[in-house]
Symmetry: D2
Subunit: 333 residues, 4 copies
Amino acid sequence: MRFFSDNAAAVCPPVLDAMLAANTLDTAYNGDRWSAALDARFSELFETPVSVLWVSTGTAANALALAALCPPHGGVICHDQAHIQVDECGAPEFFTHGAKLMLAGGAAARLEPDTVRGLLAGIRNDVHQVQPHALSITNATEYGAVYSPDQVAALGAIARDHGLGFHMDGARFANAVAHLGCSPADVTWRAGVDALSFGFTKNGGMNAEALVFFRPDLAVASRYRRKRAGHLLSKGRYLAAQLLAMLDDDVWLANARTANAGAQLLARAAGDRLVYPVEANEVFLRLRADEAAKLRALGFDFYDWGVGEARLVTSWDQDAAAIAPLADAIAAL
Amino acid sequence: MRFFSDNAAAVCPPVLDAMLAANTLDTAYNGDRWSAALDARFSELFETPVSVLWVSTGTAANALALAALCPPHGGVICHDQAHIQVDECGAPEFFTHGAKLMLAGGAAARLEPDTVRGLLAGIRNDVHQVQPHALSITNATEYGAVYSPDQVAALGAIARDHGLGFHMDGARFANAVAHLGCSPADVTWRAGVDALSFGFTKNGGMNAEALVFFRPDLAVASRYRRKRAGHLLSKGRYLAAQLLAMLDDDVWLANARTANAGAQLLARAAGDRLVYPVEANEVFLRLRADEAAKLRALGFDFYDWGVGEARLVTSWDQDAAAIAPLADAIAAL
Amino acid sequence: MRFFSDNAAAVCPPVLDAMLAANTLDTAYNGDRWSAALDARFSELFETPVSVLWVSTGTAANALALAALCPPHGGVICHDQAHIQVDECGAPEFFTHGAKLMLAGGAAARLEPDTVRGLLAGIRNDVHQVQPHALSITNATEYGAVYSPDQVAALGAIARDHGLGFHMDGARFANAVAHLGCSPADVTWRAGVDALSFGFTKNGGMNAEALVFFRPDLAVASRYRRKRAGHLLSKGRYLAAQLLAMLDDDVWLANARTANAGAQLLARAAGDRLVYPVEANEVFLRLRADEAAKLRALGFDFYDWGVGEARLVTSWDQDAAAIAPLADAIAAL
Amino acid sequence: MRFFSDNAAAVCPPVLDAMLAANTLDTAYNGDRWSAALDARFSELFETPVSVLWVSTGTAANALALAALCPPHGGVICHDQAHIQVDECGAPEFFTHGAKLMLAGGAAARLEPDTVRGLLAGIRNDVHQVQPHALSITNATEYGAVYSPDQVAALGAIARDHGLGFHMDGARFANAVAHLGCSPADVTWRAGVDALSFGFTKNGGMNAEALVFFRPDLAVASRYRRKRAGHLLSKGRYLAAQLLAMLDDDVWLANARTANAGAQLLARAAGDRLVYPVEANEVFLRLRADEAAKLRALGFDFYDWGVGEARLVTSWDQDAAAIAPLADAIAAL
């Protein structure tokens, strides 16, 4: 069984059904009725007017968001383990035309207010140094930690005080909200977030993410940037339909809860092997090479994470029964 | 009935079936077995080793191809009505980091060798002027004309003589090949083409295009560029499956033949209203405003094209019976 | 004697003297007292508060101005013979990160209001097409024509109505003003110009141009862009000193008047050989190959301009006596 | 007296004389006889054929060099205190179109082979991560340390083994060579360096730096990039003349020796206040706020460097007599 990434899971039935239902002639690009419904539907979810753009990947959503918040000569503060820094092959630099990522550390890939303030204090305010224009965090983080509304708001206050745009990479936003049990609004715009990459693909979609702008004016230029980046699909309705299907009946939350629950089962089995608290659907645990080999021999697939650690990711389609074999195997190590 | 674009047509059954068949767990990104099969399958079709990248849009395919062929300080020769110039919101400039499109005219959006030679002759070979590094043509052209193998080869010879990379925008490549009845190889690499944007979306796909490199070395950097542009989908198998399904049993050709045949029916009905010879699935005809209104009143939807002209595009799902009402209505004007 | 470009002339004595006077220790970059004096000095000249950046080349001034006025996904309307299109190796595309130059024709490289309006009318207002964000004209034009205040204002009104930034490439602005006899304000901000590349190098400077922003807010980001482009010289005082020396005692006007007067002498000699009216310091005349050879045999150096034409450029250091031999030779052809 | 930067010093007499001697009509851009002499003159100095481009700033030289060595989707390994990272406002990102600087630490801003190897080992070789394409070091470093030929060669071997282009920022290359007493070749191409930013401005020039390519093929595209960046001055002879004047009679070495000797005087006076060994013309010393105030009250100007430290920079025009007052004041603290 595969635990190496939620990226590889199958598409959930409501999404597939919605795509099949969209398989009729309609207007091209984003003129169709599914795309046209997005702003209203997401505004309802977020309890405030938002502008939403569908894109095919989280990388595109992140990079478009950063381009909307940071000029080419500016900088984006983020964690040194952030996906935008580590795993997007320079997409932020491409879309922003060369803005600099300004890196800070922090446990479990979480930025702390003091760290951000310290980084800001070290930047001379002159033309020789790249000036920060945006702040980006990932929620849930790359190491499975979740920022609470208060934690986001503390960073949001810094962003506001320093005139920084505030972006949230929510590739696993659903897992974060499922963990927090709060309103999506609480952990985003009410905490100062300007733009959210709201991920659906890892959570049961096929190839659709929502770039949500809480300041709708930011979306205007982004619509040109999306086209210019080759991300305006001619049959966009198949993307919009995925997003709508995930919001209907809170499929997004149900899927995330399943994945989170799976991770909790693994966490319990892992006990003090855990490297970080498990708050979403990722489990990092200490695992010797021979232990990893033993698990793999049993048919479990996952990534080594540095030396002596491993990453296990649970998915929307893995219920307790699907998780149990691995949990048992870990407990038996 | 809609004739405004093949962009809006539904997805054909074999493609949908293939996507459903791919709805199982597999490796993420392009590590899956469908993606892994692409190079071999397209190499077979083109009778030469090729490297193939799936992308979601023709704009991305075109822009990635141009970025592979032209440095930021270079220029790309193309028709002034080329899609890359007129309808991609500057995607070529984005992906190439600012290369200049060097425009030439020509009937039916077709570049002629003499015109290209004339344009080349007018460029001073010094550092003050952008130097041409690539040539891009569209086949079938934006006005429904088809370059024959000889016509492509004549341009290919110019490209070779001037050290230009040679790109073909084949958003309607299937329609061109269906018209020509030649091997895909004859109208591409055998005629000097280095990179082809091979379109499937307009021809019955959902959101998959193939960027085909006939010089496989060009693909190496392009794989990084694809990721960096946010075009490496995490569940890439759904794109690869579309491409494979279209090649199986020559669905791509069958679909294109249907669309072309529909255009011929319209062309016959249009008679001397035709602005250009109809060689693919686009029909441009002279139509007064009152005539256009009359057709629209009958339920036919299409684009006006400048003043006194209209564009009709037929699709893979429109057989003779589906075309007949419009053909009759045109004949009856 | 050389008439191929004012680019190659020597530096005038007041400029050299000022540079020598600046050869003392002072603060680096633009913190010195010469640089600090620029805004006030140019504001006085232009009768309005302006922000001024020195740069070493007209290409840098133009490209920085366009980057301030046009986003990467936008377009800049200019003449198809404009220096920014023809002779800057893509600098506008580099500095704007890929904005598209949108070309229009017009006699003597002069844009006409109707032409600009026509070009604007042809651009669909959707995300598939690059939208215009700026208008750029050259005064005096590349063919030696001069826009009057009214002519500039007519274009300025179009720019204002369409929300376009308005840039003037004034590589030979001094020659234009010398010809017009108007206030520099009349032909710039009073006519709607937002940014002016005010050239000094061709007019007797060594390597200093002034980028003048009539909307000082535009200068803020441009100061970062200048540094980022490697154009913030560490000993900037030698550039600032040049600009100040040229403004003192109206050296800039005196030099331009000399050059213009020389061109008039040549124009008179050329008679009906003239291709364009001579309004600045460039003379385009019809010249057969044998005639060109004859002039060259007499020691005159100049550029052929296409077939059967030649370009003669006069400089600040060529008085009537220096011009007379060529004028006589032309008259004697 | 000012010790805050060699950037602010006056221009040395041989350079000024050469500029005055160049004040005659000649061909524009880099067609003049001074520019034409550069390749041969620098090839002689470096004992190997090189291609040389003059530019006005070290930032431009560095950024052009990196653009020649690293594609937009690549990375440049450098020290986290490198000028290209800290003080160029993102110029490397601008010229490379978004390449990522990959940062490593090291005492006195010097990269160590083990550190570089460790950084390289941490980069996964897949398309999700930016791949390193170049290595850049500064010699002398930003903290006044000098890489020996062996130290450079050790890094050069790593670069060669990993296919990285190797750039040296030599803003104070003269100071490094003066310290080492070696041939310029030994510490550059013989040690694997591909491109050198050879600084002259800090060392007595006005606004001229030499970008030296030891692989002349790299210079071809760079000449277009220089123009495109607005760095091809129309009267380039005034830059070329500066470079030639500095090489004549080894003015560059004599100036650097003077500056280095001044730094040694200060170093001796500073004793155990020194933060780093003094090997070039920069002195970093521990200085309490009250001590700094005392020195400033005596008329000495310099930069604080973080808390409790200060940076003193000596210049070509400060001989022992000019240094003595500050040395005495430091000793007397």
